[in-house]
Amino acid sequence: MAERKTKKETTAKKETKATKAAAPAPAKAKASMPSTDTKPSRIGVFICHCGTNIAGSIDIPTLQSYAQNLPNVAYVDNYQYMCSTPGQGKIEKAIAEHKLTGIVVAACSPRLHEPTFRTATKEGGLNPFRFEMANIREQNSWVHMHDREGATSKAEDAVRIAVAKAALLQDLFPKSVQVEKAAMVVGAGVAGMQAALDLANAGIKTYLIEKDPTIGGRMSQLDKTFPTLDCSQCILTPKMVDVGRSENIELMTYSEVEAVEGYIGNFDVTIRKKARGVLTPVEAEARGIVGGGCNGCGDCEAVCPVIQPNTFEMGMKPRKAIYIQHPQVVPLIYTTDKDSCIKCELCVKACGNDKRAIDLNQEDEFVKVKVGTAILATGYDIFPIEKKTEWGYKKFDNVITSLEFERLICASGPTGGHMVRPSDGKAPKRVAFLLCAGSRDNTGNAKAYCSRFCCMYSLKHAHQLIEKMPGTIPYIFYMDIRSFGKMYEEFYYRIQDEGAKFIRGRVSNVLEDPTTKNLWVMADDTLLDRPMKLEVDLVVLAAAVQPAELTQKTRKLFGVSCSMDGWLLEAHPKLNPCGTTTAGVFLAGVCQGPKDIPDTVASAEGAASAASIPIHRGEVELEPYFAQCIEEKCAGCGMCVNLCPYSALALVEKDGRKVMEVTEAKCKGCGTCGGFCPGGAIWMQHFATPQIIAQIDAFLLGGEK
């Protein structure tokens, strides 16, 4: 019956809504001035028990009777779970029955349920912005669990503060803006490629930005993938080719995001196209060289006299100053290394007069694009494991990282897939794998988190050694084997059966025999409870991963936060892992935290889906926390104009004097102008000076009836 009643009310409300919608302009004009409303406020306060989450630490009956005595409070109720359908129904019903003008819910954080209760307020017939939340869970009951008196008194204050603000809240109307039908993906590893392909296949024009000369990312450096033992390149290159061919993807390699302006639906992004020193066929044609540009023939590379370490091969193979990273690069365009090029121009001659692809004086170019949403897929780097000096990386020749191992055992790697050790080029017979190298490390000198995929790839490495070089013994030094994925545990059993030796214990030290260059691994075998010392030919460090170098710069441009260890912060760890607190910006892959390939691809598809929603809807609503100018108070000094980081404010002539004017679409509602204005002439909607002062007064001066 209650339900039926609610429905009836909803219809009744619609009329009110319609009336309001018909006349938003006068309401807005009123909002630009301090409230002159003389009509008394009637506030409804709803207290949530949240089961025992709140009621366990806060005395609800005390809080309820306290709230009843507050000025402007017309109705108080409490309920087990205010966010439930019956809980929200209480709000809707009370608005009509008690002619409420504002709603306060004392419950969890507004960051969690403000949208829920705003909807309930709206359903009840009030403007949704006539709602204020008192956070008595995250910032009270959960942090004062053993101080019932202190918590209850703090909750009383919180409700009083919220009621004071609610009494001054005004009707606000979100601004609808069009969404540009284009997206951007930053980073073209497997996550970025997958996200871009999904967006492109959904019919969305997608700009895919990659800092390296080729797409492919870390996955293209791997040999085999666990637990299926698929060849990494074999499953990745078809995707790379698809990206290169997709009509909806505009691929920008060797490019970086330089500046971001705007907001969801309308991001203006400036891309720096770093000078390759080599022209693509399109660029060549633009210069009038018809049929010219780089075709990837490699004649230039053959004549280049400069030899550099190849970073793609972890420095284990040489490359020229004009190079491609590996044979499967997309796009197949050479790049010059500006730092090592000696400008001898032998390559220019080799390239010839027909193609004229090489321009060693080419300069960086800046391109501006407009997109509706963006996905960050900036990936990871390997933690500089030489910081952990006890394992001797970069000190002893035969201590290598897992990524170096991947290149050494890869058929397209520097040794053609012949597993050799660096000191003498001989095949190792005893190989120690050190897991958690720099991960799960609380010394402060490395990473406290689990890098998540090292256990599994180390098992795969052990398998590859046994398969390729029968008789080789892999020794795996581990803390725990974390084989949590589908078919992972089975893979672990398989490697045990194949003869890999597992020693549970962290390696304290690695020492080198200076004559043989063999290594002594010192550890504690915690299962047998005895120290051990093992001579091996090669040590492989499963080094921790960390956010890629450009992550910090990129995230700041897009206004995305990061956690303490630098991984980008999702909007909610469980319920919104692909979103961020910046509307319209999403996360894919390892930039959000270590992930293996299946999880990375899944997160990329999730991000692509989320990023496509505003684009397909075509418009989004912006929260109306805009600044407004109170013209009669404005002295036209223009200080606010310079303070605004979004250029949303300007001085205009009105009635023969200068006053400030706000471009609402540009205003993001930070209130920096309002915090400064010496004349108090800026009205920050929903965070107006009288509203905040009322909160301060309510706390400090009391104000109970």
């Binding site: 954080s109 507004p110 960051r111 969690l112 956070n135 869970r137 995250e138 910032q139 009270n140 959960w142 942090v143 004062h144 669990m145 053993h146 101080d147 202190g150 918590a151 008194s153 703090k154 204050d157 919180a158 503060i161 700041k556 206004g559 936060s561 990061c562 956690s563 303490m564 912060l569 607190t581 910046t582 926390y625 303070l643 980081p645 979004y646 993001k668 509602g669 930070c670 209130g671 920096t672 309002g674 915090g675 400064f676 204005c677 108090g680 920050m684 965070f687 000076t689 905040i692 002062i693 909160q695 301060i696 007064d697 706390f699 400090l700 001066l701």
Partner: protein
């Protein structure tokens, strides 16, 4: 005045970093003293020095302004502007004979729940050591 004195401290927090960090402390059930009351704003840039002065004249024993780390502001640079204003307000407080330690600006990110708890612990300790604000007597 037999009753134990409880400091009145107001915390004005930005929505994106410190308020979220305080929520995270809650999620992690990190316990801290219940002496600080919170007002949420979108950005510390919104904090008019007037708010702080109003709080002190209303009888606050301490004021905490907490925002994002430098370079991390959701609105690019609101926290820089807020921090600049804090120097101004602090020097004003000193000049009118109020301990400037009663005003504190901190930077707590959305991922620093534990830091939030220790900031509160520290602020409460500082204000408790300073005792009631001398302005409280004036307004009585």
């Amino acid at each position: 005045m037999a009753e134990e004195w409880k400091p009145k401290i107001i915390g004005i927090l930005c929505n994106w970093c410190s308020y979220a960090g305080a929520d995270l402390a809650g999620g992690g059930r990190i316990q801290y003293p219940p002496d600080v009351r919170i007002v949420r704003v979108m950005c510390t840039g919104r904090v008019d020095p007037l708010f702080i002065m109003k709080a002190f004249t209303d009888g606050a024993d301490g004021v905490l302004i907490s925002g994002c780390h430098f370079g991390d502001c959701h609105y690019l640079e609101g926290n820089y502007k807020a921090a600049k204003r804090m120097f101004l307000v602090k020097s004003l407080l000193k000049n009118i004979g109020l301990e400037d330690k009663r005003l504190r600006m901190t930077f707590v990110s959305a991922s620093e729940g534990a830091k939030w708890a220790s900031v509160i612990g520290d602020v409460v300790k500082t204000v408790r050591e300073l005792g009631p604000s001398p302005l409280t007597e004036l307004t009585k």
